[in-house]
């Protein structure tokens, strides 16, 4: 220890040292045993050697120092003593207070034990009580837990019930579940029903369904596997679902039958409506059958569930309507087809592509009528032969409808024919014959085709259809025959016969109109009273023959040939002059030459009396010859009328004579009724003579020469043109 420590706090250090020495002096802690040269301040160490210290001190220090030392030491000793005294005192105090505390502790601990025991007892009672409570509450708690579980379950169920994503069936089941749980479901009833209604929308047959179904059924390979089931699976599944739902619903709400029935009926109605719409389209009966079958299947399914709903009867009615409409629509389609085929006459002629447009059109329309009718019958037969329960019940009605349908169809067709010819007629006249020549010609040929088509219908089609109907559609029920059968072929035949005649007449009329125009021009243009001497056959003859040629061409395409009588005539009449009529004519004319005109009229009358009366306006038959003959006759009659309206000078008369003479051969060649043609040609000559101021005919040689000239000219012309 150096002297540096002293200034620190000598007093505190000393106190510490003291205390430590008091409570347990630790030799290790004591400084090293002092050497001989122990410092003076090592007085506090254990190895302090007072003698040594003293010697050292005496040796080293002066007296004064010694004295000082002494004084210091004495002061230190004094301080130490007081410190010691203080320490003792303090420790004593502490001891006393500790003793006191121990005394108090002793007295306190005495009462503690009994208290503890009391406490223990109390705790024990508490525990037993709590056990009691526990056991008594256990059952109830379990019950509560169960209830809670149920509640959650219900929540879930309810959620399912109102979610659209769930199937109806699932929902119905949920509802059933709810019901089983005595859940108050009445409020749900309405909602559930609404949902059912909504689901109807999905269930309805859509066009796509149908077409899909048809696609399948049309595909023969699939057809073999599963007739329609494949096709209808999608739809059927949903129906199945609906049925299940209804069933469930019914179980849950037993009093809701009425509503459900209504619902089911609605569905069926809508489906049949779809079917009906579909039936109106241009489809085959087989397709309709497939659709009906599909609908019927679901009806049956529903019927199983809702027995009281009389769905089958209900759907019977619906099917009735559907089939009826289908039949009607088939007929209207057929009508349309025929019209189309006919209007091709127009198109074909305008384009002028085909060589025999009329023939083609006639063929097409014939085919349309016959084939179309046969197809329809075949189809309807399919309807009849089908074993679908619905249709079996409807058999009689179908028979009836088909018969009625044909009756109406032909009636309508008849009207259509007349309309086609009549409408156009009036419009053609508005245009005027002069400008509408092209349209007129086409109209005429259309009328001709119509006429022949009518004959065809009357003679062939009706018969075939009647046979077919008799074969497979007979026995339309006793009920029907009370009012007579619906299909009366006789009536239709009659009406078409008259239509055919009418149309043929119309055709002849149209053609004659054109010829009349030609003749009118010929006779109104020149001044006949100042006519010049005839130099050649007038060109109107060519036009007339051309017109006839065109008619012949048309007629040949369309009308059948009549009985051949032409050869005989050709044999007997090789020459240009008719052997029968010529003497009469010559005689008449020669006598007019002699100016015995007063007797002329009388003579004509007498001649008429003696001559077998020639029927000019005989009944037109539907043959090429008859039609052409009629047209020739008519044009000659017109010619006569035009002649009668004029007054001629000699040259005019001679011109007429020449023209008539020239016409004689080709007209007789064209027409069948040679006698009538001769007669009419004579009539024209007579009329011209009557209307002539100076009727001197041409000399026969001049006549022959002019005719010959004309013949060679037309021959060379035709050679050039061909």
């Amino acid at each position: 220890m150096s002297g540096d420590e002293v200034p620190l706090d000598e007093k505190a250090r000393r106190m510490r040292d003291l205390l430590s020495s008091f409570y347990g002096p630790d030799p290790s802690m004591s400084p090293n045993p002092p050497s001989k040269f122990a410092p003076l301040d090592a007085i506090n160490s254990n190895s302090f050697n007072a003698d040594h210290y003293l010697n050292l001190l005496i040796h080293k220090s002066s007296l004064e120092g010694l004295l000082q030392r002494h004084v210091g030491m004495a002061a230190e000793i004094k301080n130490l003593d007081t410190d010691l005294q203080m320490l003792v005192y303090e420790n004593y105090n502490k001891f006393i207070s500790a003793t006191d505390a121990i005394k108090r502790m002793n007295s306190n601990i005495m009462g503690m034990e009994s208290n503890m025991e009391q406490l223990l007892e109390k705790i024990k009672t508490v525990q037993s009580r709590s056990d009691g409570v526990n056991t008594s509450l256990f059952e109830k708690r379990e019950h509560i837990e169960k209830l809670h579980l149920t509640r959650n379950l219900l929540r879930k169920v309810q959620g399912k019930l109102f979610s659209d994503s769930e199937s109806i069936q699932a929902r119905a089941e949920a509802a059933m579940l709810l019901k089983q749980l005595d859940f108050p479901v009445d409020s749900l009833k309405e909602k559930l029903f609404e949902k059912l209604e909504q689901s109807l929308g999905d269930l309805q047959l859509k066009d796509e369904d149908i077409s899909r179904c048809l696609l399948m059924s049309n595909d023969p390979s699939k057809l073999e596997n599963h007739p329609e089931s494949v096709a209808a699976t999608v739809h059927e599944a949903s129906v199945q679902e609906f049925v299940e739902a209804v069933r469930a619903y019914r179980v849950i709400f037993p009093d809701s039958d009425k509503q459900l029935i209504k619902l089911a009926q609605e569905l069926v109605t809508k489906n049949f409506e779809t079917g009906e719409q579909y039936g109106k389209k241009r489809i085959r009966a087989a397709d309709l059958l497939a659709v009906l079958r599909m609908i019927w299947k679901e009806v049956l399914l529903m019927d199983e569930v809702l027995h009281e709903s009389v769905l089958s009867e209900f759907s019977l009615e619906a099917v009735q309507i559907t089939v009826k409409h289908h039949v009607a629509s088939r007929f209207s389609h057929l009508l349309h087809d025929i019209s189309d085929a006919l209007t091709k006459v127009y198109v074909g002629q305008k384009e002028g592509m085909e060589e025999f447009p009329l023939q083609v059109a006639l063929g097409a329309s014939k085919k349309a009528v016959l084939q179309g009718s046969m197809d329809i019958l075949l189809d309807f037969r399919q309807l009849l032969d089908d074993d679908l329960e619905l249709l079996v019940k409807l058999r009689e009605s179908i028979l009836n409808w088909v018969q009625e349908g044909f009756q109406d169809f032909f009636r309508e067709l008849h009207g259509r024919f007349l309309l086609l010819s009549g409408r156009n007629n009036s419009s053609g006249q508005v245009h005027g014959v002069v400008e509408g020549t092209q349209g007129d010609r086409i109209l005429a040929s259309l009328v001709l085709v119509l006429a022949q088509l009518s004959v065809f219908i009357e003679q062939t089609a009706i018969q075939r259809i009647t046979e077919e109907i008799a074969a497979s559609f007979a026995g339309g029920g006793i009920r029907l025959y009370e009012n007579g059968p619906a299909f009366v072929p006789g009536e239709i035949c009659r009406s078409f016969r008259s239509a055919g005649e009418k149309l043929l007449h119309h055709y002849i009329n149209l053609r004659n109109q054109r010829i009349s125009v030609l003749l009118r021009k010929r006779f109104t243009t020149p001044n006949w009273v100042k006519h010049k001497e005839p130099r050649e056959v007038h060109m109107f003859v060519d036009l007339l023959l051309q017109e006839l040629e065109a008619i012949k061409k048309e007629v040949k395409q369309v009308l059948p040939q009549g009985l051949l009588r032409r050869h005989q005539r050709n044999d007997s009449n090789g020459s240009t002059n008719s052997s029968r009529s010529n003497p009469l004519r010559e005689g008449k004319l020669s006598r007019t030459n002699t100016q015995k005109a007063r007797s002329q009229l009388l003579e004509t009358h007498l001649a008429k009396l003696f001559k077998q009366k020639v029927e000019i306006f005989t009944k037109v038959e539907c043959t090429q010859e008859s039609v052409i003959t009629t047209i020739v006759k008519f044009s000659l009659k017109s010619l006569q009328e035009f002649v009668r309206h004029q007054t001629f000078n000699r040259s005019g008369f001679q011109q007429i004579q020449l023209d008539i003479q020239y016409l004689r051969t080709p007209l007789k060649e064209a027409a069948e009724d040679e006698a009538a043609i001769d007669f009419l040609l004579d009539e024209v000559s007579v009329a011209a003579a009557e209307r002539c101021l100076d009727p001197i005919p041409l000399e026969q040689p001049i006549l022959d020469k002019l005719i010959q000239a004309k013949l060679t000219k037309s021959l060379s012309q035709s050679a050039v043109s061909s």
Binding site: S426, A499, K608, E641, R644
Partner: protein
């Protein structure tokens, strides 16, 4: 349908085209007819139906200078009539009076009251206004319409006005509207023209080709009947000229003349070059309400509208006239000069 040959006959000497009812003769049922012969002396015959209705009696026979193409009796004076005649080269028209004492004379001459001599071309017809006394006459030639004022007592006829039918319209005949003294229908090649006589202008027209003859219905206003060569008979409402209200098939060959009954509604006579006269019954009563019906009329109805077809003729029938005194009787004239009187069976 085949005509009963119950008709009463009368034969003219020559061919003939025209016959007219003598409307002014209220005591007898009479007809006037004239012959058509280029070279012979032509005659006008006054025929009277005997009181029993069994015979046609020739009441008067008068020579007429030329062949007669048109003849019509004056509606208010039974002794006056008009003719259109031709010499073969030229045409003329005149008003004639039957001499008063013709019964006593052997071959009485007709007295010419007036010559309608303003025409140049071919004259078609002379028209009287049929509904009463009227001092005007209309004559139509191929290119013009003339309105004459006629003074019978002074034996004088003056052209009051004249109008050309226009280029390329050749007139062929006409009729005077009995309901309107100022309206005349004239036929030409491609149409029927309606003329107003006050302004002498065309008021309207029906575009319908080759109308041969035209007649107004005396009972029904606005109803006009036309006959065309091939296309038969058409009934028109004058207020709607776009389309006919009804069509009748007409004759096998041309339909030449058409004639409405002066008394009974819907009875129409037509004569044709197929040597027949047809009697039609059409229902015109509901045309005002349903004018469009006729277009879709069923063929049965049309066939039914032909009441009778008189076929006891040997030649084309050009002349046709109802009797206005006994409107169930009509006279017809075929080209061979035979007059036939028929009575409708009721």
């Amino acid at each position: 349908m085949q005509g009963g040959s119950s008709g009463i006959g009368y034969g003219l000497k020559y061919q003939a085209r025209c016959i007219s009812d003598v409307k002014a003769d209220t005591d007898h049922t009479s007809f006037l007819t004239g012959t058509l012969s280029l070279k012979e002396e032509n005659e006008v015959h006054l025929l009277r139906l005997s009181s029993g209705g069994t015979e046609l009696i020739c009441e008067g026979l008068f020579s007429h200078p030329n062949e007669i193409w048109d003849l019509s009796s004056c509606p208010f004076d039974q002794r006056i009539f008009s003719t259109v005649f031709s010499t073969g080269e030229s045409y003329g028209a005149a008003i004639w009076q039957i001499p008063e004492l013709y019964g006593q004379l052997n071959s009485p001459q007709l007295e010419r009251i007036a010559a309608l001599d303003a025409h140049v071309g071919k004259i078609n017809c002379v028209l009287w206004w049929s509904s009463g006394r009227h001092d005007k006459l209309v004559s139509i030639d191929e290119e013009n319409i003339f309105l004459w004022s006629l003074d019978c007592s002074n034996k004088n006829a003056q052209v009051q006005s004249k109008q050309s039918s226009g280029m390329l319209h050749y007139l062929s005949g006409g009729a005077w509207d009995p309901h309107d003294v100022n309206a005349v229908a004239a036929t030409c090649e491609s149409s029927v023209q309606f003329w107003d006589l006050r302004s002498m202008g065309k008021t309207n027209s029906i575009e319908h080709a080759h109308v041969r003859n035209v007649d107004y219905d005396t009972k029904k206003k606005h109803l006009l009947v036309t006959a065309a060569d091939e296309s038969g008979i058409h009934l028109w409402d004058l207020r709607m000229l776009k389309a006919p209200i009804q069509e009748l098939p007409g004759h096998t060959h041309w339909t030449w003349a058409v004639c409405c009954n002066p008394e009974y509604d819907g009875f129409i006579l037509s004569a044709g070059t197929d040597s027949t006269v047809n009697l039609w019954l059409v229902s015109t009563s509901n045309h005002d309400e349903l004018p469009s019906e006729s277009l879709v009329e069923s063929p049965n109805q049309r066939a039914n509208s032909l009441l009778n077809s008189y076929s006891d003729y040997e030649d084309s029938v050009y002349g046709l006239a109802w009797s206005s005194r006994e409107p169930w009787i009509f006279a017809s004239l075929s080209y061979d000069g035979r007059v036939r009187n028929h009575m409708l069976e009721k």
